[in-house]
């Protein structure tokens, strides 16, 4: 039972990441590959505040969001002046920079040694230590984030983002400032991704920079490419598929040495097949060009 709950907790964490990346890609049309950096910033801010300063987990969340939002502004201001592939390359550069900082700033992050002993969340003396109670916490937080994105999606703000995705010139001609809205989307997407980092850190109780690499950004991107972008169903189905798929492989009695490679091959094959047959993803409504 705990095994299933563990996968569902990871689903909740990745759902937050997928929904927040969907705000950038599916709503606004910004192909960003820096999401693991936001995830990592959230994880490290929460961890350092808890481990070094004794903060309560729930107090670290707003600070992790704030830190990630500040980073989002730093990424957005130069990057959003660029278009298409150049924007993508700029976000890639920021992803690499954040990883390098986490890896090399040993005095603060302990670099490759990582930070162990991260406390579990506590509220009024109750600790979310056991997997079943952590599952409830993760699901509640993921559900709240889902509601936030639902609210944004159906709001005039979401409508403007979609118009920018569809045709930035038209949005401009209708009196909407595309740069301002893109920056806002970046800040919201980055800020909410930090919550996933905070949750992850307190769940696994140990973090190191290898959890927040470019590969992780690509994995989050794959979730929404496979599930589909531009709505809320796509990231949900994408998260379920991408997190349950490797677990299914466990039951196929494939030797461990082969299973890990098989997972990568299947992910790759799935992406190629989908791009060929359904480029907008399984439940997506927007096809990224």
């Amino acid at each position: 039972m705990n095994y299933l709950l563990h996968i569902l907790i990871m689903c909740a964490i990745y759902l937050i990441l997928a929904l927040s990346l969907n705000l950038l890609i599916g709503f606004t049309g910004l192909l960003s590959i820096t999401h693991a950096a936001f995830y990592g910033i959230g994880a490290y801010i929460s961890t350092l505040l808890m481990v070094k300063m004794g903060f309560n987990f729930f107090l670290t969340i707003p600070l992790a969001i704030l830190g990630s939002m500040i980073f989002a502004v730093i990424v957005a201001l130069p990057s959003l002046r660029l278009k298409g592939d150049y924007f993508l390359l700029s976000t890639l550069a920021f992803q690499v920079i954040v990883f390098s900082i986490l890896y090399n700033w040993i005095a603060l992050t302990r670099g490759p040694y990582g930070i162990p002993g991260i406390p579990k969340p506590k509220i009024f003396g109750f600790e979310f230590g056991e997997i079943p109670v952590y599952f409830i916490l993760a699901v509640v937080i993921a559900f709240l984030i889902f509601l936030i994105f639902k609210q944004l999606y159906f709001s005039p703000f979401g409508r403007v983002l979609k118009s920018i995705r569809e045709d930035e010139i038209v949005a401009n001609a209708l009196g909407k400032d595309p740069t301002k809205f893109k920056i806002e989307a970046f800040i919201i997407g980055g800020g909410l991704a930090a919550i996933a980092g905070s949750l992850y850190a307190s769940y696994v109780t140990y973090i190191d920079p290898t959890s927040f690499t470019l590969d992780e950004s690509v994995f989050i991107l794959s979730i929404i490419i496979i599930g589909g972008t531009g709505n809320l169903k796509g990231p949900l189905i994408g998260t379920i598929i991408m997190l349950f798929l490797p677990e299914i492989l466990r039951f196929l009695r494939i030797p461990d040495t082969i299973a890990a490679n098989m997972r990568q091959i299947i992910y790759g094959a799935l992406l190629v097949i989908l791009m060929r047959l359904r480029p907008q993803g399984i439940l997506g409504e927007y096809r990224f060009e």
Partner: protein, 249 residues
């Protein structure tokens, strides 16, 4: 009042707009005609800020606007209908039109949560008005259809509804009748006349000379980036260069 003063714009070695000074008449339909490549659309792009002139200035009611960004110019009440329809394909017709209302409360993401009721109230008003405009242009059955699924003519009508919902004082219309069902052209032309009666200023690029004769109060003929002739539609359409451009005479 829209006015350009000695506006020029070149692309490479080609002068698309060459020293153009025009004062468009307020609360009138101003026709801007000329052969393809004459510089009409470039002039539109300069007026609504998508292109910066190499030289010259553009004024809206004595406010210099050529140094503003397109969205800032749009917020001043200058609306644009593009030559190609430029509908927002993955959005419904209703969403396309609702987008046109300026400075909506819910466009601020914080207001989506902290001014929810006010936003909802405004959203209902905007929705009702958008439906009225869609009904007005005859798209009442297509409200929830994605814009990309509409025919070309219907997309033109949708962009017209979007423009009207924006409550702009000055409308730049780039060939509004092109591709529209001929039966609906008189409806569009009547609509333009009514908009002028309501105090709107219209600048109309049009190749349909019957339409130009019927609705325009004043016509500017452009060729090779310059204003070659201007005056009453019947006068300008009698001009030899205009006759050559449009009638091959």
């Amino acid at each position: 009042m829209i006015r350009t003063n000695r506006v020029s714009k070149s692309f490479g070695g080609i002068k698309a707009v060459d020293d153009v000074s025009i004062t468009f008449y307020d609360k009138r339909i101003n026709g801007l005609i000329g052969p393809n490549g004459a510089g009409k659309t470039t002039l539109f792009n300069i007026i609504n800020g998508f292109l910066k002139p190499d030289e010259g200035e553009v004024y809206l009611n004595d406010l210099r606007i050529d140094n503003l960004l397109p969205y800032q110019i749009a917020q001043l009440g200058l609306g644009r209908m593009f030559q190609d329809t430029r509908v927002l394909g993955k959005m419904t017709a209703l969403e396309n039109v609702m987008l046109a209302a300026k400075n909506q409360i819910g466009e601020n993401p914080l207001n989506v949560f902290f001014k929810y009721r006010r936003m909802q109230w405004e959203e209902r008003q905007i929705k009702e008005e958008a439906k009225r405009w869609l009904e007005f242009v005859g798209l009442q059955d297509k409200i929830y259809t994605n814009a990309e699924s509409l025919s070309y003519g219907q997309q033109k009508l949708l962009t017209l509804a979007r423009l009207l919902a924006g409550k702009n004082e000055v409308l730049l219309l780039d060939e509004p009748t092109a591709g529209v069902d001929p039966g609906f052209i008189p409806v569009i032309l009547n609509l333009l006349k009514n908009l002028v009666k309501e105090g709107k200023t219209i600048i109309l690029i049009e190749h349909n000379m019957t339409a130009v004769l019927e609705v325009c109060d004043w016509v500017f003929f452009m060729d090779e980036g310059k204003i070659v002739s201007f005056g009453l539609p019947s006068e300008v359409l009698g001009h030899p260069e205009v006759r050559e451009a449009y009638l091959g005479l």
